[in-house]
Symmetry: D2
């Protein structure tokens, strides 16, 4: 089913969840000012799916069209469509679409459980398919949680057991888990959260090698909403003060698992080191690759903002500034191109189509560099006003007339319009997106380490040896 | 006199000013939560001046020691001491010291008025000296305002007269001016504001070629405080939530001049194109050069934060992360080195010692690149938590114990301490400092244009010609 | 037909051509020491075509398999295979394959002449197909010439007519052309040279808007071989002195057209501004995109060399150096990924499949940056010895034993082997490849200008407007 | 004494030295085509010393004026004058001045031996002063040798003793040493070579901890000239073919010490780990700092070349290209500024004035980045012709008239002049200067490691702690 934004929001309003904002448990979370922008972003994924066929593929599993972000990709074209969707969402919302990690998780758990069952004769894959059907049929919004809080990085997980999500009890009907995850974008506003390991584990650390799905309503699950970046402004009642008032800054949370019971039907990997590693590898490549398409969309949004700002300032004909925009377009198309190349040169893995691992990691590296460069270009183009502007409240306040007058520039834009653009660019420059670009899908260093391990160095040495008759 | 922080604050409390926050005129501005961090920063300049002799030079003009930031530099050593002070303040406060532009203005108006009087037989220089004496004797906090709001950049000033500060009436006892300035860091909390032109002007545009001092109490002067970046958080009552709770984000304002009367004794350049250009050139070189020392101090602060974060995470022995810190140190010392080099290779101009113009502009370019690189390194080192962290309110709230537990890492730091570091780095990544680095002292493009005009290309062509016998 | 290296070389030996080296016309050019490496590179394209099916596609036009570089691409897969071939050749030879421009020309002239005939009712396309059949059947090596010498860039072509290739006479049986082209990689060792315009022209400049094929044997065609970079060393009889002794540095030439007669059957565009622009646009996108794959292959070669050097020095376990190699892999895979993405998201144009223009230009930008970064990494990894090493002649000379001893390092490599690697990296650092990376397919600025013209800025502005309800 | 170029060359012609080029011992080395450009460069240092007073300071040691490069610096001004001299030489010659390392060695051995004698009661310092007097009186050209061949880097020196210069015999009248050094710029054409250790050593490795002076005539000293980069071209008899025909590419050599006897009077440190480390530290800081000034001069030369090329091409009014030149000026002035800053903020050490260590290392990092950026800018500005140009031999050869015609551009330059500029830029792009920029004074990694060890991290942490009340 292709769900609607209304259905999603209605469903959300019916849920009871333990969500904390600024130290207090909140009610009616779906309409809470700190959470509403995230809800809007989720909602927009439903709306956009209706605009283009390739965002709503037909699923054999359920015999109907489903949201592309709940789909298990089988072909290069599937993967390209998914990256197109990703770029489009990022461009249009200037923030996270939140369902991206859910899609990565589905496309990682599917092949990993299939291989696990083949190896061990278990039935994890069937359990997963059962949930996946439900997800596809109801167009549930899914997210995924990887990063454990980790505590002291100089210690192994077992030395500080509770800093990593782990099994505290194995029961007949399921397992009980404890620990905490961070960086969970939008988990509090999803229907389903997949839980995956944050790293590979060694023998003796099996208790951490687990994969399962948690429902936000499950007892003992607690969400603590971030309070960073432009977040605080969200609470204002201003119309355009936070810059991206509709969709807001990427909003994550810490998820505490306080002895949470997970029935076996939602456990997909249980204390299996290899399968946990598989799932992590699939997820990482998928998420880094989607991240490149996401950065492309973000840069698109910055390009649009830069162009509007030049026009609002009467500077649209200055060649050197237009060239700076072209530089931004180059990195946007470059990052997107890599994700598409990764889809085209991907590989089959247990029915699924996975992105090319080299390019997935290259996409991460070039995406971060491109995002940073674009952000600095955008700031340069926009002028100092994006860091010093009065507020909409000033424009409507006691000195409103004067503020409006002095905020005006090109006659093609009203002062309000120009200020909205200023605040939008201020949002880009001061939101948590730069942090997200660096750390989303793991740090650049993580991608370089992956490349070190997978690069076929012998092939390249051989080419040189042939050249030199060595 | 070397004033004290207490005296400055007391003085501030005695002033009546027209200051607007979020559209409303405020009372008791010196203690207003949005303004208090700026006041703290000004206050700290007084405290630090007492710690090192070279921050409190002896002034012949008044026959006593004065604050280095109110001093007119006469030697290379003066300029070096000024840059040392600048770096130290930036490092210790992680924000603007606000008196920097005042110092630049003093060192620009002095030689420009001296030359003007010699050329025209006027007495502007004496007027200026009279005010300067008062400033030095009372250790007044001074700032300077350059940037006009500018309106539509495709038009000349005369086509949109009121978008540039200009003379509306010339009277026997003074002049009346109107217009608005933006990007005025801390002007609302200073004793004296110098007002300088934002650009050079052509014949027929003399009405804009003016330099004067305004007292914030003058009738018709209105300050509209910015509402950007982490500004909004300032209003919280959190102890460390805004990251840099004591000194805050750089706080600027729009200054509206609503037919403000300026007596002749505070007018230092009146409708003189050449003198206005001189003052602008002196100011720009001085401010860009101070900006390089300032970026060095900012990077120092980031270096300190990065090192503390590694320790708090138990990662202090990871070589590749330590190397990233060393890269930050390299750009900090590089930017600082350029400012010192500019002082050493400066030049005498009408009694004053001015920084080397080539290096001043090079310092701007390399300072921006270094700041950006350092910021990305800092984000990379610190981890994603700086963009996703719960708040101090969560740590003190209903789930406080759990939040504390899961925010803890190395035993050498309490969870509160670690969170303070997290929030401080979040501040660096999401404040307006990146914008300030790009645009403070003018955009990088402005420095490149200056270099194009001053570079001695013939000397370099000649060297090549000699090499090639051309 | 898939030709053999032997056939190609034999054919070459049978040709009579006017080729000049160091001011003198040479004989037996195919075996001349300055030209032999280029011949080897051409020859290797024949050898490699036999190793993988996708390098030898079936051509409907001639009803047999043909070399991928003589093929007109019809599908995304065709284009991907071409880029795979390109990368492989660059990786294996560490230099130009020389047939790349021929392939770009075929894929540009084909759709442009088809459109031209449809528009004008002419038969240029049939003429072209006739030659293309011959090329495919005989597996001729083709190159293409674009860049005119241009003279004084501040003048239009008509003001310095002879600095641009142009029509000097239109006859019944053909045309007579005059002028000169530069940067012609390998033209002197090809079977066929396509001649294309270097830029777009305005009305009144039709004489320059021509496309045709020249045979190097045509009377009046003169090739002047470059004498740059490591070229001079080619003349030594040393075995490994020039670093890349087999395939050499990219070798170009100036081609002088001294009143050359071209029969109509080899004229494909005659004084048609639009068709000339079409051909230029197709060529530019194709060549920039192939350039990204080429840079990937070059970086692969550098990666192989870096890895061998670390092993030869006993440094293969130093993590920070391995990370530098991973950075190189990231840009190689990134540039390659963009070219593949461009193939996947290309478009149909008059039967041909053309690469996505956005990505083609992005690939150029990111390819240059990546190449430069990789080169600096390679130099850094390799150590100063690559700029200071004695020669093979020293190793074989009077002090041979000592030189061998002091050039030795890890026991896994003989001193000769280590020196070969040193000289190969010296080749990378001092050959003309960096210049080629910057200027091949036009300068980065040319790509940015193209992006400025084709970027869909409205789409991006619209996304922002929707975000902001503008 | 301020010697003259003639005296230096005459002296050189009188020496008997064992010098090998391409495997053969040569005679009349001073006039050998591969060595002559180096001799010209040395000679120019004598000429330039006569043009400016600060290049010829008065030495108390000998009671007369001496060449700045043989002077022991006592004040910040001394060091600044030295860096000015360095920049000027690099700018004017576009290559190494070769005496730079000699100057670094003098300024490192002086304070280190003074401290050593104070600590141990030895008389090394007096020995050194005796030689220094001779050097100053005769204006001898000095160079210094650091880098040992090193062999397998995974082994300690003692495991491959002969790969490091070491003591093989201690005699009453002196010591006998054996081993080999590489990267020795111009050593073969100097009067005196100082020999310093390449690294610090541990206890038990004392045999390597030695410092002495060798005369190139000493028995057993063998110089093997490099054969890299544009070196091979030097042998041509063309007037401007090698691009920088007068001064050539930086020419280094391998120096083999085949049981060389060094009398005690020329031994300055003998098997003392601490003193050897001191000398290395002083040398490294001094050389890295001089390297920053040197890069500034190199970039100046590139700036001159870029400007001439634009004029020769008729492109001097294109703003975007002029901006690229301004970017080069920014990094030139930045690197120079850091070296001047390092002089100003240096420190006194046993009578000598040493550069600030932070800035010395920062100068290295920023110098390399700036050099690379400038080189790419230069290539971009100059156009592809610098990688594809015919030679002067073509211009004078059979097709001379045509080549001249097609190489011509702006009428302000003859074709010969334009080609000289082309070849000069080709020289910058294909010489070993990029390698030299990366590795001269040690790799960038070495500077970062130094910064890690010397950075005052506590001071920076403390500033943050104060900010946060930690």
């Amino acid at each position: 089913m292709i769900g609607s934004a209304e259905e999603y929001i209605e469903r959300l309003r019916s849920y009871k969840r333990e969500i904390y904002v600024l130290g207090k448990k909140i009610d009616n979370f779906a309409d809470h000012p700190n959470i509403r922008p995230t809800v809007n972003a989720f909602a927009y994924t439903y709306e956009l799916a209706k605009t283009r066929d390739e965002f709503a593929p037909y699923s054999d599993l359920v015999g109907e069209k489903v949201n592309r972000l709940n789909y298990m990709n089988k072909t290069p074209e599937d993967l390209m469509a998914r990256f197109d969707y990703q770029r489009e969402l990022s461009k249009r919302m200037a923030t996270c679409n939140y369902r991206c990690t859910g899609c990565d998780a589905i496309n990682a758990i599917y092949p990993a459980t299939k291989a696990l069952d083949e190896r061990e004769g278990t039935d994890y894959h069937q359990r997963f398919l059962k949930l996946l059907k439900e997800i596809q049929k109801n167009d549930y919004a899914c997210t995924a949680a990887l990063t454990d809080v980790k505590g002291d990085r100089s210690k192994r997980p077992a030395e500080q057991r509770d800093m990593f999500l782990h099994v505290v009890e194995k029961r007949e009907d399921g397992i009980v888990v404890s620990g905490a995850k961070v960086h969970q974008s939008g988990a509090f506003a999803a229907d389903v959260n997949f839980v995956l390991p944050t790293q590979t584990f060694k023998q003796g650390e099996e208790e951490f090698a687990i994969v399962f799905a948690v429902m936000p309503e499950d007892e003992g699950v607690k969400y603590i909403i971030q309070n960073t970046g432009v977040q605080a402004k969200q609470r204002e009642d201003g119309e355009f003060e936070p810059g991206n008032v509709k969709y807001g800054d990427r909003t994550t949370c810490m998820v505490v698992f306080d002895n949470v019971f997970i029935p076996w039907e939602r456990v997909f990997i249980f204390e299996d080191l290899k399968a946990a590693r598989d799932v992590l590898n699939y997820f990482a490549a998928s998420h880094r690759c989607a991240g490149a398409a996401c950065k492309a969309g973000f840069i698109d949004s910055m390009v649009g903002a830069a162009s509007l700002m030049l026009k609002a300032n009467g500077l649209e004909n200055v060649a050197v500034l237009q060239q700076k925009i072209a530089e931004m377009v180059a990195v946007s198309e470059g990052a997107y191109g890599i994700s598409i190349g990764a889809a085209a040169k991907g590989y089959k893995a247990n029915d699924s189509w996975q992105p090319n691992q080299y390019m997935a990691n290259a996409g991460k590296i070039i995406g971060v560099e491109g995002f940073t460069k674009s952000l600095v270009n955008l700031i340069d183009i926009a002028g100092g006003i994006i860091g010093t502007s009065p507020s909409e409240f000033d424009m409507k306040g006691e000195l409103g007339e004067k503020v409006s007058k002095y905020m005006s520039a090109s006659e093609k834009f009203t002062p309000e319009q120009r200020m909205k653009i200023v605040k939008f660019i201020e949002f880009w420059a001061t939101s948590s997106h730069l942090i997200g670009a660096v750390h989303g899908g793991g740090s650049p260093a993580a991608s370089l380490i992956t490349l070190r391990f997978i690069m076929d160095i012998e092939d390249k040495e051989k080419a040189v040896k042939n050249c030199l008759d060595l």
